[in-house]
């Protein structure tokens, strides 16, 4: 069976096999959802290494708890929820919702994908991205998660509420707050 054909295999069947301990079947599920799970983790921790580690942990936890997975929600939503919870806990535990300081912060900023071009437009864009990253780090994990799940992942308010386990109204208010905070950053960059 080709790789593409295997990826197309029925998800329910893959889940059933994974529940019985078939790591290969679970590997196919990982391949299917890895990008989105990493993006969710990135949305909260905004550090590639941490996000990758959290994404791996997400899948390991999912594998161990597949028996608890109920098909009422989709597997992707369930995985998002695990990833978001792990990442938010991680941020709280590590106290990293404040701006990174010192050498670590410089190192992280330096390795973020900022293709340094020569044009003025590219420079301005890089500056905007840098400021946005800084501003995102100042948001609480919940606000970061909400705005990035909406803007980057394109999830609906209901899906975000399902993942973060909060009411739709909370999603709306957090989004409003985060947008206004970040909008201020954009305006400052325009002024400069």
């Amino acid at each position: 069976m080709s790789r593409a054909a295997r990826l197309e295999a029925d998800e329910t069947e893959l889940i059933r096999r994974a529940r019985e301990g078939d790591a290969e079947a679970f590997g196919l599920l990982v391949e299917r959802y890895q990008h989105r799970v990493v993006r969710v983790a990135m949305a909260v921790v905004h550090n590639q290494d941490d996000a990758l580690e959290l994404a791996q942990e997400t899948f390991v936890r999912a594998y161990e708890n597949l028996a608890k997975f109920e098909s009422r929600s989709s597997l992707s939503t369930w995985l998002y929820r695990i990833a978001a919870n792990l990442a938010i806990d991680f941020r709280r535990r590590e106290g990293r919702h404040t701006v990174l300081r010192g050498e670590e912060g410089e190192f992280e900023l330096g390795r973020l994908p900022s293709e340094r071009g020569n044009s003025f437009a590219e420079t301005a864009r890089n500056e905007l991205n840098r400021r946005l990253r800084e501003a995102l780090k100042e948001l609480t994990p919940e606000h970061r998660a909400v705005i990035l799940l909406r803007e980057v992942e394109g999830l609906s308010y209901d899906e975000i509420g399902d993942i973060l386990q909060c009411p739709r109204g909370t999603v709306m208010s957090r989004l409003h707050y985060a947008r206004n905070r970040l909008r201020g950053i954009l305006k400052d960059v325009d002024k400069d």
């Binding site: 679970f26 590639q48 594998y63 161990e64 028996a67 864009r125 803007e151 409003h176 909008r183």
Partner: protein, 221 residues
Amino acid sequence: MASCDEIHLLLGPFDDGELEPHEMEDVAFHVVECGECKAALEDYRALGVALRDVVTVPPLDHFAQAVTARLEPRRIPVRVRLANWWDSLGRLASVIEFGGVAAATAVLTMLIAGPDVRQFVTRRDARPVVIANARATARPPAALASANLGVAGAVPQLASASGESGVTDDNLANVIDQGKVKAASDLQEMLSDLGAGQSPSVAVWNEPRTDTTVVWIPDQP
């Protein structure tokens, strides 16, 4: 018309398509006429584009392998395996339950509809013997007919006989009485045969229009 403060709260959901239709309409009309809210909406849109540019996913070439490598040394916990086993047992139980319900339904159906079905099946091969007040030649039916019909069954035959041989009314009454007694004894004999299980089934009913009793007996093997 709603104020800018009210509309401002709805700009994000408006751009996300998460408002009710009438709210979408309100915001759209307001934004067309209000430069400040229009600028805020454009800022939100630019912010979305910038955020998509900021958040990038690193290459995930060996990510799945790394995850499965972490899974290899892990055995599924006993608790989880028990839960899996319990789930599979539950699935098996549901199958058995379904089969049991189906079997019970079939048995009940047979019990309820059994006599009719049996009668229907038997009737196809049986040639019922209907005893009426006509002259019958078979012994049990004839006996039964004359017993139940009494005078009605005997009169035509006897009337004919009396008309030819000049039998008196007293003699005729005696003959009728004797016929009744004989028919009753024949009936008792036949019923005792039926009670002894020599017949598989029998149906007896009255025919009110002709005041007769009909006995249906399937062919004997």
